[in-house]
Amino acid sequence: MSSKRYSADFINRQSFIELDARERAKALFDEGTSRELVGPFDRVESPWLPTQGVTPQEDDGCVVMKGKIAGQAAVVVALEGAFQGGSIGEVSGAKMTAALDLACAHNEKGVRTSAVILLETGGVRLQEANLGLAAIAELMASILALRKRAPVICLTAGTVGCFGGMSLAAGLASYVVMTREARLGMNGPEVIEQENGIEEFDSSDRALIWAIHGGEQRYALGLADALVDDDAPQVVDAIRHFTSKGVPAVHRSSQVELYRSRLATLDTSQQWDPRAFRELWAKNGIREGKR
């Protein structure tokens, strides 16, 4: 491959990551089929931020859209990583859960409606602490209910990543789509360094962070179902593929024995090289991105 061709591809690429939450959500729908629900003009803002000197946002950093993807009914919920780090507050959390519950009710009426959740979030919004945590628990409950009837697809594109409690929501999804730029994990490097020291995790080591949490590694371990470039048409194709694919026979988070057997064989006396870890994990029967 010549470097000339590579740069032409790169120039022609329409970045998905550079879009904001509203544009990302809209981009996933069939042309002209989407409309936003409880948008900024409804002004449902966080009631908890103003008393703490934080300016709220009219959509609380969460965009809900309904429409069609590949000709079928779908709801998309996109978190805006640029507002409070995409954190989950009472309102943004309630929007996500309510949207999934409505999709679930739609399925029960016989209209297959899938959900796509765009997670760019550090987890709970600390200013709303317990209501954020409760919202995540309720969102997880709604994912579990909906995914029996229609696929719930999690897309993490970049650059905030998906961390904290919201990584559990990703773990419950029917399918996970990531870019190389995206990260997915329960505890971010800073938190680990704070809790257990720099020997445990050096949060300034960017190569290490992406080697562990990055999309390529998550896909290689079978923790994500698709790895896409930061290219809007590619992202849209992947989402259309998974909404059309339907509910998987067994969800990843229900395959407990496979996971347990993998854990049992690990040597925990040392840290693992992330590259070598792919081999260790593979020995116990994983196939890349497949279940």
């Binding site: 409804d42 809900v64 628990a137 997880m140 409950a141 409690g165 505890n187 229900s254 870890f277």
Partner: protein, 274 residues
């Protein structure tokens, strides 16, 4: 008083089941036992401290990879065995320091292990099992999402040793650039930020607060009272929906979670518009 001591879980597991050991093949940090509650034969689960755990970052009462995966297995067992019979209650006794913060944990995808446990509890609830969380000590952040927060009904003791929160005080103070004292003062004024279980009760998420004089040394009468409360919570769960709507419909939630209810009603109305 609000320090994590790591003994309450084991005390209450023993008080309610008469047992104190893990099931064969399980790590020492996860206690599972079947025991009578009223007319039911319930499954009890509890995560306890194991100073010699295989994973170094899960030796102080944290919920790590093995703990989450074991909980998932032991809850799924009940779902499998009870497919066509009376759905047995599942009771999560909760006293967990936090999730395990480690590099090994992240490398092996602890988010999926935690999701697997939540999946098991949530799937049990959806299948009709009454799932009850009994918070006897700490219920922090990702650890509570993993072990307990998918329950139909949440019971908690009303003393200072009980804490349900998204982040422990020291870390929250650091992140919000406040002193612990400032944080506590602010938290007192804003219900969802409070570290006090009585303020947590105002959010409307709890089924009931229970009082035990000294939860680390309960009397026989207190244990009997808690058993009766479990029986009542199980009956209440069986008579209600399998989803978590009760957390929004409670009297306290109607007051404190007005914004959540507003979002739901607006979204529902707009969903139906053409």
């Amino acid at each position: 008083m609000s320090e994590y001591t790591g003994i309450r879980g084991a005390v209450w597991f023993r008080a309610l089941t008469g047992k104190a050991s893990p099931m064969p093949g399980d790590p020492k940090s996860v206690l599972t036992a079947d025991a009578p509650v009223g007319n039911d034969h319930a499954r009890f689960l509890c995560v306890v401290r194991d100073p010699h755990a295989r994973f170094p970052c899960a030796r102080h009462g944290e919920v790590g990879l093995q703990e989450a995966a074991t909980l998932a297995t032991r809850v799924r067992e009940v779902i499998e065995h009870n497919k066509n019979t009376i759905k047995r209650p599942i009771i999560a006794i909760v006293d967990v320091k936090s999730q395990a913060y480690g590099r090994r944990e992240e490398t092996a995808g602890i988010f999926l292990a935690a999701a697997a446990a939540a999946d098991a509890y949530g799937s049990a609830r959806l299948a009709g099992h009454p799932v009850i969380a009994l918070v006897v000590g700490h219920a922090l952040s990702g650890a509570f999402l993993t072990h307990g927060y998918q329950a139909n009904r949440i019971l908690a003791f009303d003393d200072d040793g009980v804490m349900i929160h998204a982040m422990h005080k020291e870390a929250a103070a650091r992140v919000t650039r406040r002193s612990v004292d400032e944080l506590e003062k602010l938290a007192k004024e804003i219900a969802p930020m409070s570290y006090d279980i009585r303020d947590y009760a105002k959010l409307g998420l709890l089924h009931k607060l229970l009082h035990v004089e000294n939860p680390e040394k309960p009397s026989l009468q207190e244990i009997r009272n808690v058993q009766n409360e479990l029986v009542a919570a199980i009956a209440d769960a069986r008579s209600g929906a399998v989803d978590l709507r009760n957390r929004l419909e409670s009297t306290a939630a109607r007051e404190t979670r007005k914004a959540s209810l507003l979002v739901r009603s607006k979204l529902e109305a707009q969903w139906l518009e053409k």
